[in-house]
Symmetry: C2
Subunit: 343 residues, 2 copies
DNA sequence: GACAATTTTGTAATCGATTACAATCCGGTT
DNA sequence: AACCGGATTGTAATCGATTACAAAATTGTC
């Protein structure tokens, strides 16, 4: 393997000069630079990153921790991470936790071994303290999730408002009995969206009924099963808000299987606006998150912190947007008087 | 930051001993081992991987190159990679090429900088020579793709047979005019599946018509558009085989939009068996690939090579399986005599 | 042309764990 | 007690690029 000394020898300079040519390029006369570059090319010299890493005490690598790459939402975020990282010469280590706390912890512990220069968490189920501890050792940025009461750099959307607006959309269409299929309630995202649901109902003076709020786990089947529960109610909802698209699609399956129609009998609204929305029938109305952009900006933030640049803001809130498709319908127009007069 | 010397000092041993305790554990008396371990715990010492990497000339990291993580097929493979890697203490660097040759090349070049100990390619569009060259420098394993005529370790399915069986399924149902929507024909996967299509037709003495074979790019819209072309034919196909599920779903969209029904008017069959298959209406019949397993086995192979273990086989072919759902229907039963007598 | 200021180049220490090799220890044997 | 062999431990070189510092070369000024 050809090393820097070989290049130095061939170019008749010191290794220091070779290094300077290849890194900063500062303070090297163009003559010697040419000589060095020529030698580099002839020998096809590639600096050994392992050595460079040790000396610079940096791996030029960041770890992206996501709960599940298989999920299109997170794979898009990941792509945002990767694009920025690449742009700045960083690499991305894949940290798929498979939704396991244990694995999340393992990944976070990597920071202590200097395997990575920074950490991006797109999942944050671990106790606050652990995450905070990690963020004190090396740069950490949260994407999507955030931690209440701590000032860890974060990129996310306003989940409360997004939830509220989704439900308000349904209310505007005339719905009063609105079911909610939420993700696990120990993740702050879910909590926030439920909070938005409450807000919308309160604002419109609709009483809240606990039984209309069902907890799923973000999977299609959990959406299917919880919807079945909602349908089994003596007075089932006329519309359902699911906190992700997979559960919404599961809910649609359940509705259809019961012989009902979406949106004629029941309106459905999802969250995330993944490509699947346009592929199911009818096409799913959903709250769109700028997922690629979240990844992109989170990584920009992280790299800024790594380079010790001043951050203009510590918390970035990106805009969401309701994507109206074909799964929501006005309430009065599709149910007989019988039901309408309940209100 | 606490280093190995601090531990050595506290335990009153040399750094060599500390290192021995922490790595091989060989030839250390239990007394001193305990002392060292106690010091390690008290100081919360974590070995600096950067230093260790340099000395051992290995990063314990492999790179996984995929065309697009956003694609559920590849994200599953990636998960297989990750699980094995983790099991053996390796990390996975994410190499999403975004289908760009340039980026594929960039990633492959990383091997020369010793950034990674091995390479897994789930995409191989680069010229054979470049890939071969890389494989001479460090361990390389191909997953899914393979390279004709070279003996690079590979894990894949038999795409020719899989394609043939898919088409034979349609033929068995009575179809004679079978359209094919293929992926880009410069990737060997696509070529093989088309080859299977030819085989099935030949075996059943059905003439091949070039116009029935349309090239897409694996995207939903390309499936949609090419299906539109097929439908515009004076004598459109009664069944279509798409070489991935996204294009199949796109084709279904086109069919429905033309006022026709799947499978009553046209049968559709996809490839990969991604979760989407179960979510569209009707549920898509598809050729299932053991994608997670492919990733799993490919990574096992790679790590074996890295550890210089003997490989029992250089090429692994995994079984595929036709997953019959609801998008294929017998031909005779849904078309009038008028058309039937063509044959 | 001499001297200072500046740019360019070289020397050698450094990053921190690993490991080849040397030294020491310890129990057993004669 | 002397010696041997094996186990245990220590010393110091090593991995290869980077960089602080020193030295040399160049440029500019009077």
């Amino acid at each position: 393997m050809v090393g820097i000394v070989d290049v130095a020898k061939m170019a008749k300079v010191s290794t220091a000069t070779v290094s300077r040519v290849l890194s900063n390029n500062m303070n090297v006369s163009s003559k010697t630079r040419d000589r060095v570059l020529k030698a580099v090319n002839k020998l096809e010299y590639k600096p050994n990153r392992l050595a460079s890493n040790l000396r610079k005490m940096s791996s030029k690598t960041v770890m992206a921790v996501v709960p599940d790459i298989t999920n299109p939402f997170f794979s898009s975020i990941l792509q945002g991470f990767k694009d920025v990282a690449l742009e700045f010469g960083y690499h991305v280590l894949l940290g798929d936790t498979g939704n396991s706390l244990e694995q999340e912890r393992d990944y976070i512990n990597l920071v202590k071994e200097r395997v990575v220069d920074g950490l991006i968490l797109a999942t944050a189920r671990l106790p606050k303290e652990e995450i905070l501890a990690a963020s004190q050792e090396i740069p950490v940025v949260l994407a999507c999730e955030y931690i209440d009461g701590f000032d860890i750099p974060t990129v996310s959307i306003d989940n409360v408002s997004a939830g509220r607006e989704a439900v308000e959309h349904l209310i505007r269409l005339g719905h009063r009995r609105i079911g909610m299929i939420t993700g696990p309630l120990d993740v702050i995202l879910s909590k926030d969206r439920v909070k938005g649901y409450y807000q919308a109902l309160n604002l419109n003076e609709i009483p809240i009924e606990g039984v209309l709020i069902q907890e799923g786990n973000f999977s299609v089947t959990s959406g299917y099963e919880t919807m079945l529960k909602l349908l089994a109610l003596k007075d089932p909802p006329t519309a359902v808000f699911a906190t992700n698209d997979e559960m919404a699609v599961g809910a649609m399956k359940a509705i259809k299987q019961r012989g009902l129609q979406v949106p004629n009998d029941i309106s459905v609204i999802g969250f995330d606006d993944i490509p699947l929305c346009g592929l199911v029938e009818p096409e799913l109305t959903s709250v769109s998150q700028p997922r690629y952009d979240m990844g992109y900006q989170a990584m920009q933030m992280l790299l800024s912190i790594i380079k010790k640049e001043e951050l203009t803001r510590n918390q970035i809130v990106l805009p969401h947007r309701l994507m109206i498709r074909n799964t929501c319908r006005t309430y009065s127009s599709f149910l007989g008087e019988k039901k309408l007069k309940v209100y």
